[in-house]
């Protein structure tokens, strides 16, 4: 029998285990908030999508059928569109990975100045909608674009980079590779240096070290990024349309609905297939990731060893980075040149320069700019309002089935913009605004709501993360000093979430500003058109390319400024609330 002072370790009933239920015994206010959020999600996400599914599976008289799907797969054109879409999505993910994996590895592994350059690379492509870049890339890499003109002159050989589906794959890969780059970089950074040392200690090094230890540990990050690229490319409408590649699923659905009409079942069948593939890709990645949280960094442990590059290695790394940077920047450069070009055709660079496209855009397009600011501002506002409400209901109340609000809101990630738009048009067909003759599907409200629903997951994640970082005792302390829950939300919760709320607002705003697929279907009059629609419209004609590019430059500037601002805000709030390391001990 050993004498002991050690307290027996009892079952850990955490001090906050029962917090949520304590006083927030689901009051009427909580029920009301939950009901409002649910109504919004049902009306503008669940029911429209359900309506699409319903239409795909019934005859015009309402009898259930699989005939539409049989018809889809018996048409050669549709089969081709289906396989083309799969091919383009898979190849885009593959090429994006080829660009991203070496870059991610360079940043984490080696100590060199290129790291900052790579981080910039990670954001640049995302600040421009891919369909804008598509036109510019055609001018640079197309059959009679700058690169092939020069190549042809010097070597007599031309590269079919922009021919057919290649063009779509090329544009999508250089637009979406940052998703893989960012996810993979984070995953690599989280690997505990001891993992590598253990492998080295057991005699594993070089390529085997990378392929047996480092890459498998970072795999979850890679899969998350790659599946995102797949889904985004599979659902993209703007790029193939601008490049004239209509034999893919999204353009087919668009053409069916706009040309054959809202009654054509093929549009609905395609919609269902797109949703199923989006969900499948996400489910697959969730499955791969399940139980593989490899964030192995231990307390006090370092991450992967950084090494100095050999001169030769350094040269190779820089060469790769510069090459990628050139390609990645080419659409930006191309759009800029195009917006300033008087004539640019069959020549490596424009023949003459002018500012008149900008004048045209400011003259004709100010309404579009105003529309974009209005729709995106309102949509982002709705998103943070819903985001804060859902986050609070989920993390701080015991509202029954509160998790469902989160799941439903997040599910909108799997709904392509064009599918949502088709659902709106179908579900609200013939519905008029209360008290007027105005068709609700003919108003800009629908465009704005589609933006809000599509971008809700971004704002929601941002709000949830912000609230999760708030220790419940911060609110308890307020209540302990006499603040009611509503007062404590106002005086403590919202001010402390401000950074996250603003970041969510900006993310929703800028991603909504470049949304094209829902916009194309839902814009019913030119006076309602936002910038993205305007760019697309201008780009349809050769004469409109200049003004279109000028509008594109403006969109890039808006998005770039927004991205930068949100970055600054997040950094600042982050540093403000962290203990200052040294001067704390005053």
């Amino acid at each position: 029998m050993t004498p002991s002072t050690a307290p027996a370790a009892g079952p850990a009933a955490g001090p906050h285990a029962g917090r949520a239920g304590a006083w927030r015994a689901v009051g009427p206010g909580v029920w009301l908030a939950g009901a409002l959020v649910l109504t919004f999600l049902l009306a503008f996400l669940v029911l429209p999508v359900a309506r699409v599914f319903y239409t795909a599976f019934v005859e015009s008289d309402g009898a259930p059928t699989l005939g539409h799907f049989a018809a889809f797969f018996s048409q050669g054109l549709m089969q081709e569109a289906f396989f083309n879409s799969l091919y383009v999505a898979v190849m885009s993910a593959l090429f994006a990975a080829l660009i991203a994996v070496p870059l991610a590895y360079f940043t984490v592994r080696f100590d060199f100045r290129g790291a900052l350059l790579i981080q910039t690379l990670g954001v640049l492509p995302l600040i421009m909608p891919p369909f804008v870049g598509a036109v510019a890339l055609q001018l640079i890499f197309g059959r009679s674009g700058s690169v092939n003109l020069l190549l042809g002159e010097w070597t007599g050989v031309t590269l079919p980079i922009m021919e057919g589906l290649n063009g779509v794959i090329f544009v999508e890969a250089i637009h979406y590779f940052p998703f893989i780059l960012m996810n993979l970089t984070v995953a690599l950074r989280n690997i505990d240096g001891a993992m590598e040392e253990a492998a080295l200690n057991l005699g594993c090094r070089g390529w085997r070290l990378f392929s047996r230890v480092i890459f498998p540990l970072a795999l979850p990050g890679f899969v998350a990024g790659a599946s995102l690229v797949f889904v985004k490319v599979f659902d993209d409408l703007g790029t193939p349309l601008v490049l004239g590649q209509t034999n893919l699923l999204a353009p087919q659905a668009y053409l069916r609905i706009t040309q054959v009409g809202l009654e054509d079942p093929m549009g609905y069948v395609i919609s269902v297939i797109m949703i199923v593939f989006s969900i499948a890709a996400m489910a697959l990645s969730a499955r791969v990731l399940h139980g593989k949280d490899y964030a192995t960094t231990q307390k006090g442990g370092g991450s992967l060893q950084r090494r100095a590059l050999t001169p030769a290695g350094s040269l190779a790394a820089y060469a790769w980075i510069v090459a990628v940077l050139l390609v990645v920047l080419s659409p930006h450069l191309g759009v800029l040149l195009l917006s300033l070009a008087k004539v640019w055709s069959f020549s490596p660079l424009p023949d003459a320069y002018t500012l008149e496209h900008y004048a045209t855009v400011f003259h004709d397009g100010s309404g579009m700019i105003r529309n974009t600011l209005l729709y995106c501002g309102l949509a982002a506002g709705i998103d943070v309002l819903l985001g804060v409400t859902i986050a609070y209901l989920m993390l701080r109340t015991r509202l029954p089935a509160r998790q469902w609000l989160d799941w439903i809101a997040t599910a909108s990630l799997a709904v392509p913009g064009i599918v949502l738009a088709i659902g709106y048009l179908r579900l609200y067909k013939g519905v008029t605004l209360p008290g007027s003759e105005l068709l609700i599907t003919g108003t800009w409200v629908m465009i704005m709501l589609a933006y809000a629903v599509r971008r809700l997951p971004y704002a929601l994640r941002s709000c949830v993360a912000a609230l999760q970082q708030l220790h419940p005792s911060l609110e308890e302390a307020a209540e302990n000093l006499g603040a009611t829950p509503l007062r404590s939300i106002r005086r403590v919760v919202v001010p402390l979430m401000a950074g996250g709320i603003l970041a969510g607002f900006v993310t929703s705003f800028i991603t909504a500003a470049v949304e094209l697929s829902a916009t194309l279907l839902l814009t019913s009059a030119e006076s309602q058109a936002p910038m993205s629609y305007g760019i697309y419209l201008y780009m349809q004609s050769v004469a409109g390319r200049g003004p279109g590019a000028a509008l594109g430059v403006l969109a890039i500037v808006v998005v770039a400024v927004g991205t930068y601002l949100s970055h600054v805000v997040v950094e600042r709030t982050h540093s403000r609330f962290q203990p200052a390391a040294k001067d704390a001990v005053a």
């Binding site: 029998m1 050993t2 004498p3 002991s4 002072t5 307290p7 027996a8 370790a9 009892g10 079952p11 850990a12 009933a13 001090p15 285990a17 029962g18 917090r19 304590a22 006083w23 220790h471 005792s473 911060l474 308890e476 302390a477 307020a478 209540e479 302990n480 000093l481 006499g482 603040a483 009611t484 007062r487 005086r491 403590v492 001010p495 402390l496 401000a498 403000r576 609330f577 962290q578 203990p579 200052a580 001067d583 704390a584 001990v585 005053a586």
Partner: protein, 364 residues
């Protein structure tokens, strides 16, 4: 300031199937500094949160100043709590943190300025009013948390492990400051801790909790000298606990059969001791109730002597703690240290002397 008492009557609380509090009865007298001591998971923090109103008991009564507060929300109780993490709001300055509760109480500006100033003065942080909490050291943050709580003049002060985030020297200093302030304000204070030294050095009285049940309530000395059961005995300080059996009472005292050691006769005077033969019990005594002598040293009659073998020795500073094998049992023995005195070698045979007046018999 009015001094209030707290009474818990048969408080029960369960989260789902796990019972956290199983009928807690407790009386905290007005103006008392009362400590709740227990291991993690014992229910001590839950009990404190219950008094603050952050958890709600399923049955029983909770009286503050004689009034049942069960139905009152946290913001209606006027019970000040200092959180383990301090829970200072990072978006507000020190001044605004302290003023928070007064703003909620719609205090007029002049009074607010005067009270916040006085509270900061009290904790010695007047010069730091415009700083942000994250620009302060741990000890200063702790003082802000305290100022923020006492400025609302709560009827009761609750402290949830307030010293656990401080390093050792600071902990001792803050402990003394806390106590001095409590004495000055005369505020009834309930203090949760898992550190028995902290509880014993500060509390007027303390309660030891384990498994959601109050094991014993009393002054620190009572709990140390007369633990009610084996759990309290081993949780408060170090205790040798030997299982045994009562054989009977004869003129020399109680005769015991101690497992693995043999038969002992203890001249126990107190009448409360059990007398029935065959009762299972535990023989308990502190490490410093034993004395080590070289094997073969002369034996006196005041002590109970037994032979042993030193198995291990830890030099603590003020004393050396030996583990000595006696029969099949290992006993902890504390030997006061004096410079220049040779210790007993590990593996060596020794003679152990037990001061029988220090032995307590505990129910098994």
């Amino acid at each position: 300031m009015k001094r209030v008492s707290v009474q818990c009557r048969q408080l029960r609380l369960a989260y789902g199937p796990s019972e956290v509090l199983k009928g807690v009865d407790l009386d905290v007298a007005a103006g008392e500094f009362f400590a709740l001591l227990g291991p993690s998971g014992s229910g001590k923090s839950t009990l404190l949160r219950l008094i603050a109103g952050f958890a709600r008991h399923h049955s029983g009564e909770l009286l503050i100043d004689g009034v049942d507060v069960s139905a009152k929300a946290p913001w209606e109780r006027n019970v000040g709590m200092v959180f383990q993490s301090y829970a200072l709001w990072p978006h507000l300055s020190v001044w605004d943190n302290v003023a928070f509760g007064l703003v909620e109480r719609r205090t007029d500006k002049a009074t607010l300025r005067q009270k916040v100033g006085a509270a900061l003065e009290l904790v010695g942080l007047s010069a730091y009013a415009q700083r942000r909490p994250n620009q302060l050291s741990g000890g200063q943050q702790q003082r802000v948390a305290l100022a923020r709580t006492i400025v609302i003049e709560p009827q009761l002060l609750l402290l949830d492990e307030p010293l656990s985030n401080l390093d050792k020297t600071l902990r001792v200093q803050m402990r003394q400051e806390l106590l001095a302030m409590q004495r000055r304000l005369g505020l009834t204070t309930v203090f949760v801790t898992h550190d028995q030294e902290e509880a014993m050095t500060t509390a007027d009285r303390m309660a030891v909790l384990d498994g959601g049940v109050v094991q014993q309530v009393g002054t620190p000395t009572t709990l140390y000298d007369s633990p009610a059961n084996a759990f309290v005995a081993s949780f408060v300080g170090t205790m040798n606990l030997l299982p045994g059996r009562l054989l009977g009472r004869d003129p020399q005292g109680l005769r015991l059969d101690v497992d693995g050691v043999g038969e002992w006769t203890l001249p126990l005077a107190d009448a409360a001791s059990p007398t029935d033969g065959g009762v299972q019990l535990r023989v308990s005594f502190r490490p410093h109730a034993l004395r080590l002598e070289p094997a073969g040293a002369p034996r006196d009659a005041r002590h109970l002597w037994m032979p042993g073998t030193v198995e291990a020795a830890e030099f603590v500073g003020e004393f050396t703690r030996y583990r000595v094998r006696v029969g099949t049992q290992a006993l902890a023995v504390d030997q006061a240290h004096q410079a220049g005195r040779q210790g007993f070698p590990v593996g060596g045979a020794v003679s152990l002397a037990l001061d029988t007046s220090q032995v307590r018999l505990l129910a098994d």
